[in-house]
């Protein structure tokens, strides 16, 4: 028995030695860290069809590696809270945040730098939808949303700007506070789940990202005899690239500007650039500024999502 144990320990030790000599691990979230030199870790949690970008992220990191002269590593993360936490720790140095998570991240890491937003992010909208059998009718202005009082309602993910924060803001503007809804508001977890749950009648109404709705309608994925559009909100700003304040210290003076230029320079004329823009469902990346997110910050504060 003892002999067997000694043999087993020896085997494990030998295996570990071999293994540690084998070089990079295929599934290491920090792969690249041991490669020597500075590594820029980036991540993104896109709203629409995230699986496309999250599974084909090599294009993005390759492109930026080429442009920046440092190794760029894309770290796929699915959870909003997790990405903000990793950004705060400095494990992620540049992240494509949603409007709300970006504001939250800036509150946690003061001095973070806004790099760029997509062309479509300046003109983001949410849509309010209703089950076709409900008595809810299409309305033309925010005040019209007052008709949602007394109906059940679902948001998308808790941290979503277009699926939760701005819809809540527009509801409040129409005088529909959360306690005026029938039952507690739901948190379906995603835009597609919101559509499905309203179509199934679980909730009489809901709100989601307008571009996701449009894309699904266009693709014929939504049964319009079961769920209808009742309101398209005014525009607001949403997603943007946010960088940590210490990029220049880590990668040399002027690096933040270099990154900004590289992102803004992604062009559809270049085949690789086109591929990236397609993954981000955008035509171009454009400059942005803190003032664009003032409204989001205000709403986040009012609804307790920012303290």
């Amino acid at each position: 028995m003892r002999k067997a144990l000694v043999r087993l320990v020896a085997l494990v030790a030998a295996l570990l030695l071999t293994v540690s000599a084998c070089g990079t691990s295929p599934a290491d979230p920090r792969s690249g860290h041991d490669g020597g030199g500075a590594v820029l870790s980036i991540s993104a949690i896109p709203d629409q069809d995230p699986q496309l970008l999250q599974r084909l992220y090599g294009t993005v990191s390759d492109y930026l590696t080429k442009k920046l002269g440092v190794t760029v590593q894309y770290v796929p993360v699915t959870d909003y809270t997790a990405s903000v936490t990793a950004f705060k720790r400095g494990d992620l140095q540049m992240v494509f945040f949603g409007g709300l998570t970006g504001v939250q991240a800036r509150a946690q890491v003061p001095g973070s730098v806004l790099i760029a937003q997509r062309d479509i992010d300046a003109h983001f909208r949410s849509v309010f939808i209703a089950n076709a059998d409900s008595d809810l009718k299409p309305v033309t202005d925010v005040a019209g949303l007052a008709e949602l009082a007394g109906h059940s309602f679902t948001f998308g993910s808790e941290s979503s700007t277009s699926g939760r924060l701005m819809p809540q803001y527009f509801l409040m503007k129409a005088g529909v506070t959360m306690d005026k809804l029938s039952g507690k508001p739901g948190y379906s977890g995603s835009h597609d789940a919101t559509t499905k749950l309203v179509a199934a009648g679980t909730y009489q109404s809901g709100a989601l990202n307008a571009s996701v709705w449009d894309a699904r309608v266009k693709a014929g994925k939504i049964d319009l005899s079961k769920v209808k559009l009742i309101y398209r909100t005014p525009e607001f700003h949403d997603y943007h690239w946010l960088a940590r304040p210490d990029l220049d210290q880590r990668f040399g003076a002027g690096f933040t500007k270099k990154v900004t230029d590289a992102v803004l320079g992604i062009s559809a004329a270049d085949p690789q650039g086109k591929q990236i823009l397609d993954l981000f469902t955008a035509k171009a990346f454009v400059p942005t500024e803190a003032a664009n997110y003032g409204q989001i910050e205000e709403v986040a504060r009012a609804s307790g999502l920012l303290r």
Binding site: V19, P26, S41, T154, E158, G183, G186, A200, T202, G304
Partner: protein, 549 residues
């Protein structure tokens, strides 16, 4: 039972009155049964009251759509490759997580056993205090869901494989410690007492006196934990390392059902492989099989270590502990975050009622599927006459059980939400069917491990199969089933955290919202409430088990 038998029994009772102790025990048992029934009724009433309608028939289409996709999983080469690498990553995290949990479980199991603390007659009182304290300490990691552990550990270790390994290892280690301590306490104590009396130390006495007798159960449980770790690794998608959990989360976000099924099939294959390995080791416990398994486990561990780039040095490196301190400082002092203590109590009530319904569904569902899926050699005839039919039936039930537990609770929650109105019920059913898959496996194993001799003797006397089942099998397995049920009830409380989607409120949803707004101080209060709830459930189920024994 025939009429004469009943009369015989009655006559017997008149002649020889039961000892008073038995009667008191019987009364206590009845009281507990009453409490159970009352708890279930109260939970169901909470679940269905308030909102008028409960169920909607027109949602069935959306419910079935998911299962129809099972026939058309996404199977292009690219996605299959992705699934394969993800499955390996999940397996690697499960292996490392299980190893950590086994280490914690062995050490913690010994330290929380009565055998350890109450070994010496002198200092019994101190021993009792020590036992209670260690036991209470182990409730803390157990009460917190792996996903919450993941978020906390992420703040400490950053994007490091350590996060996922510990997120599985710590809570599972605590559960393993609880079960191991019970196995140690229930193992035959003869050799142990003899060694102690001969002047041996506590540890050697334990190693040579207790472990050999408990080894089979310890092994069986370790394998079960491994299978749980595979499923758990498939929920932890946040570590940034890929894995089935990450891919499932992505596909679930956009409701790509065909992709979800491909990933689920990979999970099922991993589960079945772990299961087969387990039953192989359990049924053929030769030195060769055990040694071979140990070597395979070692190779697997080393491979996993390399695959995820595991590096234990982060534990003592640089600023890890400063960061851990800062995470704690962010959460202290805990606040109520806008909730009154009374609100919290109400939410705890919802969580409890959800878990009670869930475990009721799981208990009966699991038991119903467990018997036909178990290999029951003592029912003899079956195997000879209806061999093929039996194999098919057993395989089918096993497959259903594995599918029930492979589909993650959040997915079940959304599916039930198509058919039910938001509230406690869809959440309870989601946890219920998932837990039924887990319980059914445990129950089938318990039934297979029954002592077959008395049953075969009954059969040899010509007792009909259904009678053997009702009067010999059921009474023998019931205590084990109840024990498993109570243990999973505690887990169900923890799992309510991941079915927040059903909109039932409860502590889980509150915790999700507090984390989304980075309100760590309020999160800590909610977590504390969950810990308290788990402690109450732990003590309650211990009392219940004593009463039913």
């Amino acid at each position: 039972m025939t009429a004469t038998q009943v009369e015989d029994g009655a006559a017997l009772e008149v002649r020889v009155p039961l000892p008073r102790k038995r009667i008191r025990h019987e009364h206590r048992r009845r009281r507990w049964l009453l409490v159970i029934v009352a708890a279930i009724v109260a939970s169901v009433v909470t679940a269905v009251s308030g909102a008028g309608d409960v169920m909607r028939v027109d949602g069935f289409g959306s419910f079935l759509e998911f299962f129809q996709a099972a026939l058309h999983p996404r199977a292009d080469a690219g996605f299959l490759g992705l699934t394969a690498t993800s499955a390996i990553t999940t397996l690697a995290y499960a292996v490392l997580g299980t190893l950590v949990s086994l280490v914690i479980g062995l050490v913690g199991g010994v330290l929380t056993s009565q055998t350890w603390w109450l070994a010496r007659p002198q200092g019994r009182r101190a021993g009792r205090v020590g036992w209670f304290v260690t036991r209470a300490v182990l409730v803390v990691p157990r009460a917190i869901h792996e996903v919450i552990w993941g978020l906390v550990l992420l703040a400490v270790f950053g994007l490091d494989p350590m996060v996922a390994v510990l997120a599985i290892g710590i809570p599972f280690g605590a559960v393993t410690a609880k079960v191991f301590s019970e196995l140690i306490d229930e193992a035959p104590h003869g050799p142990y007492t003899a060694l102690l009396a001969a002047g041996s130390g506590r540890l050697p006495a334990l190693v040579y006196g207790i472990f050999p007798g408990a080894l089979s159960d310890l092994l069986s449980y370790a394998f079960y934990r491994f299978e749980c770790a595979i499923r758990s690794a498939a929920i932890l998608g946040l570590v940034g390392a890929g894995g089935l959990g990450f891919q499932l989360a992505l596909s679930f976000q956009t409701l790509q059902y065909n992709e979800i099924w491909t990933l689920l099939y990979a999970l099922v294959v991993l589960s079945i492989a772990a299961d087969q390995w387990s039953s192989f080791v359990r049924t053929r416990r030769t030195t060769r099989v055990l040694g071979g398994s140990a070597v395979v486990a070692a190779v697997l561990a080393a491979f996993s270590w390399w695959w995820v780039g595991f590096d234990p040095s982060v534990l003592w490196q640089g600023n890890t502990w400063t960061l851990a301190g800062r995470v704690l400082a962010d959460a202290v002092p805990p606040t109520f975050g806008g909730q009154s203590p009374l609100d919290l109590l109400g939410l705890a009530g919802i969580t409890v009622s959800m878990s009670v319904i869930a475990i009721t569904v799981a208990f009966f569902g699991g038991a119903l599927l467990a018997f036909p899926s178990a290999r029951l050699p003592w029912l003899g005839l079956r195997r000879r006459s209806g061999g093929l039919l039996w194999t098919i039936r057993s395989g089918l039930c096993k497959l259903i059980l594995v599918l029930l537990r492979a589909i993650p609770p959040p997915v079940w929650a959304l599916l039930f939400l198509f058919v039910f109105y938001p509230g406690v019920l869809p959440g309870a059913l989601a946890l219920g069917v998932y837990t039924a898959g887990v319980l059914g496996r445990l129950m089938a194993e318990a039934a297979e491990n029954l002592d077959g001799r008395p049953l075969r003797a009954l059969r040899a006397h010509g007792t009909a199969e259904p009678l053997v089942f009702c009067y010999a099998v059921l009474p023998a397995v019931t205590p084990k089933f109840v024990a498993y049920g109570l243990y999973r009830w505690e887990v169900a409380i923890r799992e309510t955290v991941v079915v927040g989607v059903v909109g039932a409120g409860g502590l889980g949803l509150l915790l999700n919202q507090q984390l989304a707004s980075f309100d760590y101080a309020a999160s800590l209060t909610t977590v504390a409430a969950l810990i308290l709830l788990t402690l109450v459930v732990d003590l309650g189920s211990a009392a219940l088990r004593r009463a039913l024994r």
